[in-house]
Amino acid sequence: MTWSLRRRGRIIKREEENRTIMERRLLVKQYELLLDRDICIGCGICADNCPKEAIIYSPAEFRGIRAVTRPSIDFDPERCVLCGECVSLCPMHALQMRIEREERVPVIEMNVFPLATRKRW
């Protein structure tokens, strides 16, 4: 059956100052994925490696040879499954994941790196 009431459990994305927060609230568990836009340099490593292609990468915009905006990333809350892969790969530590307010990264806890294994297969 399709349990049709989809509202519960959706990831809600919100902006708070220079942070983007992706939050999923279940009655018994709460998850957050945070991006600090002040730290992010827009390298795009996370976007390249997200196994659900949930990160949208926007390159810098140029006027002539001058960049007028920095490269940046954004999340698609419909696709993200809160695995934490992006968090584990970000060289700048701009990303953070919290479960029940505690800093936790599922892929690290389970010791998996999907992309690496995919290559092996």
């Binding site: 279940l26 009655l27 998850y31 892969e85 995919r118």
Partner: protein, 808 residues
């Protein structure tokens, strides 16, 4: 007509005084004797009694009769009796015809014996005229595959499958989700006895898994159904679960290592599950499924599975098509729940502490995400006060007008359960009406009241959240005191209605069965065929047909099994031969592209291939006659209701004083039924109407109406079931489309449009029918015979030209 002239016997029944008390039956018999081809005509007290039937049988032999006409009661009453009678004397049962001179004559015109006698003579004349054109028909026999398909593995489908399997039939049970069990598997306790739901359902689910006659196909949907009763060919598409059902032993080691958590639909998204999962611990089959929307392909599970010495996980699994052959189909697809966020005033989805009843079921369930604790979203604390609001998305013109049936009872159940868990909690039930019929239900309601639950009557108009406490303030009018009131509680639970399961519409198309105004599957007859669909060999059970509680769903599951077994046990099935036939010589499609018939047939019974004549699949045809009326080349004949037969009836009815008569075309199931009921209820109306029975209003060719006017009819009535009630799904829509233009056409010929009536009424609306005839006779009188004759004269040249193909 056969080669030899028909030899007709006419038998006029007195029905004691029921007919003879009004109609001069002897005169009717005498007049009938004068009709062409009638070789014997008699009257007798009770034709349906043994001596009456013996008389017919003897005469068939003595006079070598080739047709029999009985003038007595409604064919809906005794046609089968007399058909059997003539058959036992060696005559084909379809060479029998009936004139209804009781329900449609003596019973409705007791104060006009002479007119009634005249009408009875006309009715016999019409029957004799039709009888001349009757031809022998053979009952069609089709073989039946002794296997059934059950769609939907909720409690209703499970019972249907188990019953059939126990009777020895092969059953394919197709379930859309990864496990069978349906809604009942989600529930905590069940009313009115408060048994644990999964404890009573679980063993049944295991029986399904172990039964040698049941093949369980889960995570699958029916995509195509072809064929007909006894011979359905079904295509099922099975989604890949990426775990081999043959290899997985349900150890669950994979789950422990999966990094991805997403909301569990089975827990109403209140708690998490992994990307690889079973929806609940008692799931059947006990096989894990990978949700590819969530999986990040880390293959941790593959490793874990290998460590168990197995290789059950297969990422190369593809969607699979399964082909089945079955004799019967049972639909048990259950229901979904109304999305309460659509009732803005109740704030579901907006305020943290507003829940639905099914969410509460999962919370209060010890195996649920909170281990049986009822807690608020805002602070995960057990509320000290809680209000149930009933009828959310039901019994309201703004949402759904129907009553969702089981919500009152589950509300009481959950109120009682909460009181048991938390005796200190203040519990309110806000209701409009509380409905507790059936065994043990009212007692349950009484128990709830005795346990200190507070019942307040009224429909809440508005609900606010206190931003600090996250409590909810409900505004309503207390209907007991008439005063407006505000009620503050810490949690609100909405009893939201059952709605048709997602995919019901698609499935109704696949199976060519209809849905009712609320969108649930519609049964063939609300009282006498509550389990049957309009398509032969397809049955419904459980909440798929409308909201139902568990006992009712189970009873229907067993009922559907027995209805299906009735067909499969025989090994072959008989079909009434009143089907359509396409004359390949006349079908246009051989020369130009046509195929109109195929688009109009409500059952998809006609196949049209380019360049070839259309072909009716006899076993699929239900005999509505829509195609026969819509064929532009008049290439289609409906057996036993042929153009020649109906036109002969029209001609016979209008031989004398046509301008005083109304020709009424009535459909067997609704409008003819209403006329019968008018008779049995002894409602009186003027005797001017001459009724011609067709199976469906869809059969009504425009030519029939025009021919009646050409022959001088005063008025014509075309009628059928109300929209949505047609016994052939859409026959009446086709009739309306075809006949409505007559209102514009007739005046162009010079005929007043009010002389034609197109009306839709149910078999219960005898009063409507009676008034309709009265009204039509008023119109007839107002226009007067002079004017009618004049109009008819004026129209005749047009009509003669249009109806050249009919002749006469």
């Amino acid at each position: 007509m056969g080669e030899e002239e028909p030899r007709i016997g006419v038998y006029v029944c007195h029905c004691g005084l029921n007919i003879a008390g009004v109609v001069d039956v002897e005169k009717v018999a005498r007049e009938a004797a004068k009709l062409p081809n009638v070789v014997v005509s008699k009257d007798y007290r009770y034709m349906c009694a043994d001596p009456g039937q013996e008389m017919i049988k003897e005469d068939i032999k003595k006079y070598n009769l080739t047709r029999v006409v009985v003038a007595s009661c409604s064919p809906r009453m005794h046609e089968p009796t007399f058909r059997r009678c003539v058959e036992s004397a060696g005559l084909n049962p379809f060479l029998f015809e009936m004139a209804n001179i009781r329900e449609h004559c003596s019973w409705c015109h007791p104060h006009y014996p002479e007119d009634a006698t005249e009408k009875a003579i006309d009715l016999v004349k019409m029957a004799v005229a039709k009888a001349r054109y009757l031809s022998p028909l053979e009952v069609i026999k089709v073989p039946v595959t002794r296997a059934a398909l059950v769609i939907g593995g909720g409690v209703a489908g499970i019972h249907a499958a188990l019953d059939l399997a126990d009777m020895g039939f092969k059953v394919y049970l197709v379930e859309r989700s990864p496990s069978i069990g349906g809604r009942m598997a989600q529930l905590d306790k069940t009313f009115p006895t408060l048994d644990c739901s999964i404890c009573i359902l679980g063993p049944k689910m295991v029986d399904v898994a172990n039964h040698p006659n049941i093949e369980l196909i889960t995570y699958a949907e029916v995509k195509r159904v072809e064929g007909y009763i006894g011979n359905f060919r079904v295509t099922v598409v099975k989604k890949p679960r990426y775990v081999l059902e043959s290899e997985c032993n349900g150890c669950g080691e994979c789950v422990k290592v999966c990094p991805v958590e997403v909301p569990n639909e089975f827990d109403e998204n209140l708690g998490p599950r992994k990307a690889i999962y079973v929806p609940f611990p008692q799931a059947i089959p006990m096989v894990y499924t990978i949700d590819m929307d969530a999986c990040i392909e880390c293959y941790n599970c593959v490793e874990a599975c290998k460590e168990q010495g197995r290789e059950a996980i297969d990422f190369d699994m593809k969607e699979e098509e399964i082909h089945l052959e079955v004799g019967t189909i049972i639909v048990a697809t259950g229901y979904d729940l109304y999305d309460p966020s659509r009732v803005r005033a109740y704030g579901y989805g907006l305020y943290d502490n507003v829940f639905t009843a099914i969410e509460l079921e999962r919370m209060i369930n010890a195996a649920g995400p909170t281990q049986g604790h009822v807690i608020r979203f805002s602070d995960r604390r057990t509320p000290r006060s809680l209000a149930f609001i009933t009828c959310v998305g039901s019994r309201d013109v703004k949402t759904n007008i129907y009553c969702s049936g089981f919500c009152c009872m589950y509300t009481l159940k959950n109120a009682i359960l909460l009181k048991e868990h938390y005796p200190e909690m203040q519990i309110y039930v806000l209701f409009m009406d509380l409905r507790a019929p059936f065994k043990g239900y009212e007692e349950f309601y009484r128990r709830a009241r005795e346990e200190g639950i507070i019942f307040l009557r009224g429909r809440p108009t508005e609900l606010y959240e206190d931003p600090k406490t996250k409590n909810l303030i409900i505004s309503m009018e207390n209907l007991s005191t008439g005063e407006p009131m505000d009620l503050e509680v810490e949690m609100v639970v909405l009893s939201n209605a059952a709605v048709p399961a997602a995919g019901t519409e698609e499935l109704s198309r696949i199976l060519t069965v209809s849905r009712d105004a609320s969108g649930f599957f519609m049964e063939a007859h609300p009282k006498l065929r509550p389990i049957d669909s309009p398509t032969d060999g397809v049955f419904f059970c459980g909440a798929a047909q409308g909201p139902k509680d568990i006992p009712y769903s189970v009873a229907q599951g067993s009922a559907a099994a027995s209805r299906a077994a009735r067909i499969m046990a025989r090994g072959e099935w008989e079909i009434e031969p009143i089907v359509a036939y396409v004359d390949p010589e006349r079908c246009r499609n051989t020369k130009t592209k046509c195929g109109i018939c195929a688009t109009k047939c409500p059952y998809g019974a006609i196949t049209v291939e380019e360049g070839k004549a259309a072909v009716v699949n006899t076993a699929k045809c239900h005999g509505c006659g829509t195609c026969a009326a819509d064929c532009p080349a008049n290439a289609i004949t409906q057996m036993h209701f042929t153009d020649a037969q109906i036109i002969a009836q029209i001609h016979a009815a209008l031989e004398e004083k046509p301008e005083e008569k109304i020709i009424g075309f009535l459909c067997n199931w609704c409008s003819y039924g209403a006329a019968d009921l008018a008779g049995t209820s002894r409602m009186e109306y003027p005797p001017n109407i001459r009724i011609i029975r067709v199976m469906c209003s869809g059969r009504l060719d425009r030519d029939f109406i025009l021919e009646a006017f050409r022959k001088g009819a005063g008025m014509v009535l075309a009628s059928g079931c109300r929209f949505g009630d047609c016994h052939y799904i859409s026959g009446n829509y086709n009739a309306e489309r075809r006949l409505k233009p007559l209102f514009k056409m007739l005046p162009r010929f010079g005929i007043s449009p009010e002389r034609f009536r197109l009306e839709w009424f149910s078999a219960a609306e005898a009063g409507f029918f009676t008034n309709l005839v009265k009204e039509m006779v008023e119109t007839l009188k107002r226009l007067g015979p002079e004017r009618i004759r004049e109009e008819n004269e004026k129209a005749r040249p047009f009509l003669d030209r249009m109806l050249k193909h009919i002749g006469g």
